[in-house]
Structures are given as structure tokens and as C-alpha cells.
């Protein structure tokens, strides 16, 4: 039997956890402001599609990256408009955006390429070579020659911690998620603050989708997000809405996914059906939630629309 735990497993973990890490922070910032963003899955899917198309038409993957941010923010704007401005149901709006993204990406694919399934190969994000890291064992292999998105993902917990806990805007976002009425009394513009948080959320979710199509693969496939947005939400609950914990939770889900993938290689289909391994991440997510939750309490004002008192 081959050794499952190897350098390759760590490399796979990094590769698979990156989109979940970015997505979990997309969920974190929105929920900390009091707006549940169930649409992560849909924003990832749309982001993946936009990134692939951007890269396909310009040959420049960074344009693809911009496109994924743009579509994520556009969907976030719709979510914010319906749920913040018009106090709509955050859960239904989130599901609506997921459905719309499945239909929208399928439609565009069919329209442009005259067939469903996937786009042709597109230019992927370049890998960055850091010279002095090249000779260090293990770490050199893991950290070197990654794309900009991986570095960004692993910096995110630091950035997000500093942003949410050390900057005025970050503190305002958290205040709006815990007690919008008081925040309002203190002169914070609750609507505006929530809009900012949701838009950042959309940008991040779009980016995490881009990782799927222009780093992990070099094309967009229909429904390629395959539940990762939901796994990110599970990681958010598991990490109890705190930057460092959600990061670790996302890493954990990336790790289990990597194990699953490695096992598929170790045990060929003839011995153990691969459907078992394919189901594993989802079953494990449920088991982990079942083992840990009960104590998980999200932001107090999460899910509740805020209505300014009329004088």
C-alpha cells in the first residue's frame, strides 16, 4: 500500500483548501455584518465561469480574476438590495441567486460555445517562483510556485482579523451584526456598513470560484462548485464565526477532501467503489457538524433585516 500521508497530500490539501478558505471569509464578513449569505455556492460558480471566460477572451488570466470579482460583487449587490434595502428574506434570496447562477452559467456556456458541459482550455494563472525558497525541502515545494490566490488565501485570516478587530470599519461591521439598533444610535449607518460587508463578501466568493476554473483546472465546467460554497458555510459554523477558527475549519475540510482524493488513487475502483470516496467530504461535513455544534451561536442579528425607526 502506498503511503497516503506524504508531501503530495500536503500539496493537494493546499490546492483544495484554498477556494474553501477564500469562500469561508466571504461568508464570515457578510454574516458578521448581520446578513446571511447562502449564495456563496452560486457566487463561486458564477465567479468560476467569469474567470474562465475572461481568460478565454483576453488570454490574460488576471482579467479573468477581475471578472470573477465583478460578477461576485454584482450578485452581492442584488442580494444586498433585496435583503438590506428591501428587508427581503436572506435565505430565499441566497437560494435564488444559486439557482440563477446555475441557469445563467449554463445558458452562457451554451450560447457561446454551442455545447454544454465545459469551456475549452483557457490560460491559467501563472505560478510565482520565489528564488530563495527553491532549495528548502518540503516548505519550498509547498509554498513556492503557487499562484497569487494561494498566497492571498493564506494571508486572509491575518488580514481579516486585523480588518474586523482593529479597524473602525471592521468594528462597525461587527456592531451591525450584533446589535444594529445600538449601532444606529451611535451614528453608524447600518445599511451602508452592511452593503460594504456584503459587497466584499461577493468579491471574495467570486475570487474563490476563479481558483476552481483558472488554477485547479484550466476550464469552466457546469456545476463545478459542487457544494464547496456549502462546505464553506459549514466551516463558518464549525469555526464559530471567528477568523482564526474558520480558517482552521476550512483547512480541515480541504484536508479531508485531499485524503479522499488520495484514497481514490490508492484504492482503485475495482477494490472500493469511488462513489464512497466522492460522498466522503459531504458525509464527513455532516458528522463534524453533528459532533461540534450545539454550542455554535452566530452573530446575534444574523438573518434579521434591519428597519430604521421612523421619526
Amino acid at each position: 500500500m502506498q503511503n497516503i500521508f506524504s508531501e503530495a497530500l500536503l500539496a493537494t490539501t493546499i490546492n483544495l483548501s484554498t477556494p474553501i478558505i477564500i469562500a469561508v471569509f466571504a461568508g464570515l464578513i457578510s454574516e458578521r455584518s448581520g446578513v446571511i449569505n447562502l449564495a456563496l455556492e452560486g457566487m463561486m460558480l458564477a465567479g468560476a465561469c467569469a474567470a474562465a471566460l475572461g481568460s478565454y477572451f483576453t488570454g490574460n488570466p488576471y482579467i479573468g480574476l477581475m471578472a470573477s470579482i465583478a460578477i461576485g460583487m454584482l450578485m452581492a449587490l442584488a442580494h444586498a438590495y433585496a435583503t438590506i434595502t428591501w428587508r427581503g428574506d436572506q435565505i430565499i434570496s441566497g437560494l435564488a441567486l444559486i439557482v440563477a447562477s446555475v441557469g445563467g452559467t449554463g445558458f452562457i456556456l451554451q450560447l457561446i460555445f454551442k455545447h454544454g458541459g465545459n469551456t475549452p482550455d483557457v490560460t491559467t494563472l501563472p505560478r510565482i517562483i520565489i528564488p530563495f525558497l527553491q532549495n528548502i525541502p518540503v516548505l519550498g515545494v509547498l509554498i513556492n510556485k503557487q499562484t497569487i490566490l494561494v498566497y492571498f488565501a493564506y494571508l486572509l485570516p491575518v488580514l481579516m482579523y486585523l480588518f474586523l478587530y482593529k479597524t473602525p470599519l471592521g468594528m462597525r461591521i461587527r456592531a451591525c451584526g450584533e446589535d444594529p439598533r445600538t449601532a444606529d444610535t451611535l451614528g453608524i449607518n447600518v445599511y451602508l456598513t452592511r452593503y460594504v460587508a456584503v459587497l466584499i463578501s461577493g468579491a471574495l466568493a467570486g475570487l474563490s470560484g476563479a481558483y476552481l476554473s483558472i488554477v485547479q483546472l484550466s476550464k469552466f465546467q457546469e456545476n463545478m462548485s459542487a457544494g464547496r460554497g456549502w462546505i464553506a458555510i459549514a466551516a463558518l459554523i464549525l469555526g464559530k464565526w471567528r477568523p482564526w477558527s474558520v480558517f482552521l475549519a476550512a483547512l480541515f475540510f480541504g484536508f479531508t477532501d485531499a485524503i479522499q482524493l488520495t484514497m481514490q488513487v490508492v484504492f482503485p475502483d475495482s477494490k472500493l467503489p469511488r462513489e464512497i470516496f466522492l460522498s466522503l467530504p459531504y458525509i464527513l461535513t455532516i458528522l463534524v457538524l453533528a459532533g461540534f455544534v450545539g454550542k455554535a451561536i452566530g452573530p446575534a442579528a444574523g438573518g434579521k433585516p434591519y428597519e430604521k425607526e421612523q421619526l
Binding site: 447562502l38 442584488a78 438590495y81 433585496a82 435583503t83 428591501w86 428587508r87 427581503g88 428574506d89 436572506q90 435565505i91 430565499i92 434570496s93 437560494l95 435564488a96 441567486l97 444559486i98 439557482v99 440563477a100 447562477s101 446555475v102 441557469g103 445563467g104 449554463g106 445558458f107 456556456l109 451554451q110 450560447l111 454544454g116 457544494g227 456549502w230 458555510i233 459549514a234 459554523i237 467503489p273 462513489e275 464512497i276 466522492l278 460522498s279 459531504y282 458525509i283 461535513t285 455532516i286 457538524l289 453533528a290 459532533g291 455544534v293 450545539g294 455554535a296 451561536i297 452566530g298 444574523g302 438573518g303 434579521k304
Partner: protein
Amino acid sequence: MHKDMAKSSFSLRDWLETTPIIVPVIAVILAFAFGALFILATGHNPIQAYVLFIRGAFGNTFNLMETITKSIPLTIAGLAFLFAYRCGVFNIGTEGQLLIGAIAAALVGFLIKLPPVIHQIVLILTGAVFGALYAGIAGWLKAYRGVNEILSTLMLNYPAIYLTHFLVVKVFKAPGVVPATPLINKSAELPVIIPDTRLHAGIFIVIGLIFLVDFILRKTVLGYEIRAVGFNPTAAAYSGISIRKNVIIAIMISGALAGIAGSVEVMGLHHRFFDQFSPGYGFDGISVSLVALLNPFATFFSALFFGAMRTGSTEMQIFLEIPRQLMTLYQGIILFFIAGQLIFITFIRKIIRKRKE
């Protein structure tokens, strides 16, 4: 735990039930209006496309019956989502429960020999039991482990897809190119009721289930308790109603309905289970019941509309090469406007007020 449940059931469910019927109607109109832009992008005339759409959905007896046939699983899946939602539980795992129910029914259909009627009843019950048990996992996890049911029901869709795929491709595959189970025995089939169409007796089961769901929810103690928990879990708990029990029962009945949707589809239409059996009927059930504003009777008409979207879009694709995925996009837009209904309701109210002045 109570706090968590109170929070997750904070939804505008109650508000949905009191929403005027004009809301989904306007949401649909808005979706078709916005969608016209996408049709323009394909280089076609939206009016011409919509004429084809209507012709495809209702234009002749066959198409009309096809629309009704598609509304059968859609109605039952819609009732499934509705039932759990009345208890404040979001069951978005209807797709997985439908698949589990369908394959269980298909297996019982060809493995066991029974006289007609009995065989049919057994198949429906099989679908119900397996759907209920599968949904029960999420119910138990929510009631006893505090696991958010939106996540657990959604996650459980994937193992169901993989499990049924595995069973049909590697275990029960009938000889032939297509990965499908053998045909069920004739005794288990639901007959076609209008010759030369595919409309089958499942439509009577639909009608029965609509009345049954309405009856349970409005006239029984169980239904009263389920609605009480959905309306205000804390108050329900104070008056001695068990939240846990009702959450589990509601989601299991919901799963049973989804499973029946699967078994009826096997018995009436395909007479077997095959790989990628459901074209998203379970997922569509969510939209169906939300557009119906959680009313069991309206669910049927909502399902007819979603059935029409499927048949109508096929016509648009054949004649104008407009990708049928457009309808999924429409569905998203409709849901979006139901969620954010104040966007246009406020506007309408303003107009009415101005008129009065």
C-alpha cells in the same frame, strides 16, 4: 437549542402565507421581462420566442398533457418542501430523498412479484418509507445535535446521487447500453390515462396528496403542533409541544412525500430507475412551493407553471436554439423577487396611494 431553532425559523414564512397572490404573479412577469433581454442577446425576438414557449407548453393535446405529466413530480416535491417549511424546517434535500425513494421503488418493482393494486400500493409506500428515513437523518441531527438542516439536507443530496449512481451502474444494471435497472413488473405500473400521451394515473395520487397535506396541516392535532412550532417554537415549547418530535416528524413526512414523488415517476413514466434519473425535480420543488406561497392547492398550479417552463423551453431550444438553461435563470429571478418582494410592492402601494389622492 431553542434559541438556535427560533433563529433558524425566523423567516418570513408567516409573512409568505399572508403575501398577496399578486406577488408571485408579478415575480413571474418580471422574470419574463428581464429574460427577454437574454433572448435579445441570442439574437432572437423575445415575442416570437414566447409564442413558441406557449405553443410548446400548451399548444396541442400532447404538449399540454406533457406539461401536466411533468407537474406530477413537481407538485409532490413542492408539497414535500412545503410540509417541512410549515414547521420552520428548510428541507432542501428533496432531490436526494426523491432519488432514494425512486430507486427503492424501482427495485421493489422488479424484484418482487405481487398482484396489481397491492404491488402499486407497496411501491408507493416503499418510496415514502425510504424518503422518510433518509430525511429523518437530517431531522434527528437537527433535533438532537443542533445541526442546521439547510446544510445537512443539502449535503445529503450528494451521497444520494452517488449511491443511486453506484447501484444503477454497478449493481442492478439491466443488460444494455443505458445504465438503468430492469423494468418493473406490469403489476406495479401506473397506467396511462389518456391514450397517445404520457399522462398517467399519478395525477390522481397528486390530487389525493394535496387534500391529505391540507387536511393534516389544518385539521389534525399533528398539523396544529407542526404549525405552532413553525410559527413560534419558544411559545410552542412553553405550551408543552415537543419541538424535537415535531421537527423530526415534519421532516420525515416531507421526505416521505419526496420519496413518493420519486416512486410515482418510476411507476407512471419510466418504469425503471436510470442514471441521472431526476432532472432537478426535487430542487424545483422548493421554487414550486414558494411560488405557491406555501398553499397546498396553489402548489399544483405552480407546478403546472414549472412544468410548462420545461416543455415550453424545449420548443424554444428546438426552433430558435435558445438554451433551455434560460428557464433555470428565470426560476432564480422569480425566487429573488419573491424574497425581495417589497422592491415592487412598495412601488405598487405608492401608485395606489397617489390614485386615491
